[in-house]
Symmetry: C2
Subunit: 340 residues, 2 copies
């Protein structure tokens, strides 16, 4: 393993010059730069990152706590991780994975990782209503950015990126409306979830806007399970005025709706239009395919990394980068809402 010193000796310059060739090439005369680069190539030199980190006290590593499954979002977690990695690598950084107890119990782990200089900062996800982690990290001055807002807080403790769930539901309603449906139901979760309330509000808002009924059309499911989605759908279909469109809060719930339709001999996309959320692998794997709202994972990842690395959180200086970004989901249309 060649060192900076050896490269310097080989190129007959000082170590400082080699270091500059790597980190500030514009400071060198072109001929010197070329000579140094030849030596680097020849000796197959790779800078030792630990030495660099020790000196600069930046490790270029971003911590991400792997959620313990089962978990609502785990179906798209692999997509998220892949994009997060790719986005980090574009800035020369990498993702360090770790496990921690949920909630505030896990904070000592975050603190330790940061204090021992294993990471520069954190990307949080699985944000919950009143998530205590954000405030804790902010107080401790540990850089972080959150995928997901801390719900029901007037002011967010730190920078975040999120997807506009209300807009997503509205898009789903609009789509079902445009395919001729006028009675559109909503499959929701318990009231305690900020995410659920956001998506529910989008459905209600657009329905009102279009002059569609909402009364008795929002059903709360006990948990995010296929059986619950099926049960809620059965309830809706058994009512006096059954809906002809169903916007579900999640792909899982939507799958329940599809199953119940099938059980009754109704054809999804023809008799009743169904949409889900997240465009998980499930959506494209069922038949007919499930129309679903895709989260723009690549954009999300890029924004997270940009905010974490370019704002005060990591550099100590405030730049012009906004620290709150609400991104729009995209409706992926499949057979469950539009046959053919």
């Amino acid at each position: 393993m060649a060192t900076l010193k050896q490269v310097a000796a080989h190129a007959e310059v000082s170590v400082q010059t080699v270091s500059n060739a790597l980190n500030a090439p514009h400071r060198l005369r072109p001929d010197t730069l070329e000579r140094v680069n030849r030596s680097i190539e020849l000796l197959n030199y790779r800078p030792n990152r630990n030495a660099r980190s020790l000196r600069t006290s930046a490790v270029e590593l971003i911590g991400y706590c792997v959620p313990s499954w089962p978990d609502q979002a785990h179906l798209v977690m692999d997509q998220f991780l892949h994009e997060l990695c790719a986005a980090a690598e574009k800035t020369g950084r990498h993702i360090l994975l770790f496990t921690a107890p949920p909630g505030v119990e896990g904070m000592p782990t975050y603190d330790d990782l940061h204090a021992r200089r294993l990471v520069d900062g954190f990307v949080l996800s699985q944000t919950e209503t009143h998530d205590p982690r954000h405030g804790w990290l902010k107080d401790t001055q540990i850089p972080f950015v959150s995928f997901g807002r801390v719900w029901k807080e007037t002011t967010q403790p730190g920078p975040w990126v999120d997807v506009d769930g209300a807009a997503g539901s509205a898009m789903a309603v609009q789509h079902l409306y445009e395919t001729g449906r006028r009675r559109i139901a909503f499959l929701s979760w318990p009231r305690s979830s900020g995410l659920a309330e956001d998506r529910l509000a989008g459905w209600r808002g657009r329905c009102k806007q279009l002059g569609l009924p909402t009364g008795g059309l929002a059903v709360r499911c006990g948990e995010d399970a296929i059986d619950e989605g099926a049960r809620a759908t059965a309830e809706l279909l058994d009512s006096d005025q059954p809906p002809v469109g169903i916007v579900a809060l999640s792909d899982i719930l939507a799958l329940g709706a599809l199953r119940e339709l099938g059980r009754r001999g109704l054809t999804p996309g023809v008799d009743v239009g169904v949409t889900g959320f997240d465009d998980s692998p499930l959506a494209s794997v069922v038949s007919p395919g499930l129309t679903s709202l895709r989260q723009p994972m690549d954009e999300i990842a890029c924004e997270l990394i940009a905010i974490l690395t370019e704002t005060q959180s990591l550099t100590g200086t405030t730049s012009g980068v906004p620290t709150e970004r609400l991104l729009q989901p995209e409706l992926v249309i499949r057979g469950s809402s539009a046959p053919g």
Copy 2:
């Protein structure tokens, strides 16, 4: 941020003694140790990992390349990552995530990560038939361990951990046999997959052993998709002697079988018993639940980490730890094979 030096000054000992208190406490007199520990506590000292790594040239980081989805195994990837993280942390290590082009194209990325001392070694997964990465890493002397065997090689280029697919299929056959079924089919993939051949062989072997027919009962699907599983199932059910049990190579294929049964008014678990592979989130989310072969992710992760850290691959010395481990899957029985 306190340093070793400051702790030493506070405890009125040399830095060497503080270092020993941390890394070799048995070398200190109990009273000295206690005094040093008090200072560490008081100053909230955390050793700087970069300084340590620079000195010891071990970063305690293990690289794992996030597979680009879509991918056969991505449904259980989050479980795998969680267990891998947890296992690494038990040894004081962490997982560094990165992306790389598939196959041998990605090897420079592995090499770079190792040369720049961002990682000590790698855990590979998504092993393919004749996977070139193993030989490459072995030749380059980069420590690694593989989750999955390199199929069709007489000798494996490096240490591995894998799950016994043949035994898994045999367990599924045995289970269906014990629930009274005598005609058991197998849903497979194209011949090019070592994993598929392994699982197929297990089915055939156990059927022969039990005196069950196999002729015309193995169907190859074009790809791992629900539609393909349904199509293959339809083919089987339309034959002169339709099977009453179906062992599928994957949960996805099994889901296809369930769908086709439903379409025909047949009840899974009653009329036809169905089993899948991997016990993915899908298996417990459908109704009836899908009987499936669970990979022991916790064991797999522990073995991977143990082999990587305890054998020559990382320490340079051969220890007594075996470098090849074939683990047994576990049959998780649900309604698709046994009602009630």
